[in-house]
Amino acid sequence: MSTEKHAAAARKYLKDTAKVDWQDETLWLVRGKRDRLSKQIPEWEALRDAASRIKLYSNSHLPELLEQFESHAVANGAIVHWAKDAGEYRDIIGGLLTGHGVRLFVKSKSMLSEECGLVPYLEGLGIEAVETDLGERIIQLMGLKPSHIVLPAVHIKREEVGRLFEKEMGTEPGNSDPTYLTHAARRNLRQYFLKADAAMTGGNFAVASTGEVVVCTNEGNADMGTSAAPLQIAAFGIDKIVPDRESLGVFTRLLARTATGQPVTTYTTHYSAPRKGTEFHIVIVDNGRSRILADREHFRLLNCIRCGGCMNTCPVYRRSGGYSYSHFIPGPVGVNLGMASDPDRHKGNLSACTLCHSCEMVCPAKVDLAEQIYRWRQHYHTSAGKKAISDGMAFLMGGPGRFGAGLTVGPGAMKALKAVGGHWGKGREFPDIVSSKNLESIEKQDHGK
């Protein structure tokens, strides 16, 4: 995560052109797969409409749907907890783990745990948390944060993974064959699955009519963990609720196709009841979501199903990488979620958008991502230079005389603009200010003929 403004962090990131191009191509490939798959579904756009409407319905009926979920979950034998913020979430999970004497626990990928700082908190309690999704595990072993919400290690080259595994798991020196490394990771993780005292997952969806928590993964590691441990925890945000299994089907058709260009995730697990002799705890978290819901300009953010599609398509994200953003979620949705959580801290990300609107058209749940960035910009200004230029233009355009005069002094004005703005001139020439001639006169000349 960057502590400086996106523009400054991105400028540094862009110095390694080969890496930037590789990252851009990798993510664009994922977008391409998504395009091909989505075009095989004739009703694709209708599905997106349905997803958007279901989310708007669910998020505007949260109290009844969440209570319905709870009553079914309890009837299924689960124990339900409610957390209003990150602190309560950490306390509940920390309390469960310490209460059960857990020293080691396995978890599968959960952006909510990142959001709430769970792993560092547990470390403080002396509990070791092992990430079991391959990408997350790589990131964890490297001591890094995810750079993408679905492909957390997308910025790591396989050679780097080879070297890491050599050190951590004793793999052959110099071998960075993906299949070999995946097998090594699998063997290595097995011992943790067997030893772990507890297993935790996030939740992609929570089905109100059945009380099921639905987890979509590709590696099956979530299932390995939850199948062995005596204590299972699933935690999710209140915006994950869907009314019933029928509506769930709309999202499972969209999620993997948009996220990775697969027809469906390899595993779509519905967790409802604890296994015999074990406990199943469900933690439902608000942590600012109800505040977003109350915000007229930004409530559609809660439509997000965290597919990562907007990142893959974002031309700025693809060329600036996940760590150029100050929020733990980067890309179009991250810019918005950061602003929704702490605007003063994250307004430096607002510049990271050309308003190209590609994200809005990729988004399976039709979050109005670009429009929301436009709206944040109206309330949070990011740079004095930009304001000076904008003010200057607004003044210049205030009357045709001023504008005409501005054009006459065009080259000088452009130089000034360059000075204020900084870097237009690097790698890119300024256009010539062609003329200040009175274009309106073409009409008169023409009619005079």
Binding site: T354, Q378, D391, F403, R428, V434, S435
Partner: protein, 237 residues
Amino acid sequence: MKVALFIPCYVRAVAPSVIEASYKLLRYLGVDVAVPEGQTCCGQPMGNAGYEDEAEHLKKRFEKIFEEYDVIVGPSPSCVVYVRERYGELFRGRIYEICEYVHDVLKPTSLPGRFPHRVSLHNNCHGTRLEGLAAPSELNVPYFNKLKDLLSLVEGIEVVEPERPDECCGFGGLFSIEESAVSVKMGEDKVRRHLATGAEYVTAADSSCLMHQGGIIAAQKLPLKTIHIVEILASGL
């Protein structure tokens, strides 16, 4: 019916020939187009940068100038979309981007002149995704491209598209200054893909994208020229 030509400020500043071409094209197609005096800027650059309220006086000026017209036509998708979307109801249904107007309303079946060149078409963001000039690559909708349709009326032209035909070129108004490093990189990638088509010209419906891409082309001294699509359509006039 009163039709007015809207002259976006930066088009006037960097590509006034586009205005003359727009005027000629509309006249040729039988439109008695007026060019109202006193035009400056619609306020889009300020709005996109976060200062919509400070451009309120520009909106008022625009409204005063164009109120009396039944149809307003401008050679810039992003400005047209800005006025349509941000000005409330006033101009909805009567402001058009010029290619849209020519394609959907005037519907010419031929155009005079020849343009015997290979031309790489940049499908710019606002034209494609907000104005509906072409099917956006993201959507599962039947393919269409109004710009290609119009260009096909010009004799001798060969129209090609770069790889990633509607990926953003990185201009983005004040984005190009505030995020200049990313902006230049995006522009370089875009221009490289145009070059790979073997085209002599890059064309688009938006002069701002062309100004940005042209800046990269000039800095790298590449064998490419930029030309606004209306200048091609009006090349025989």
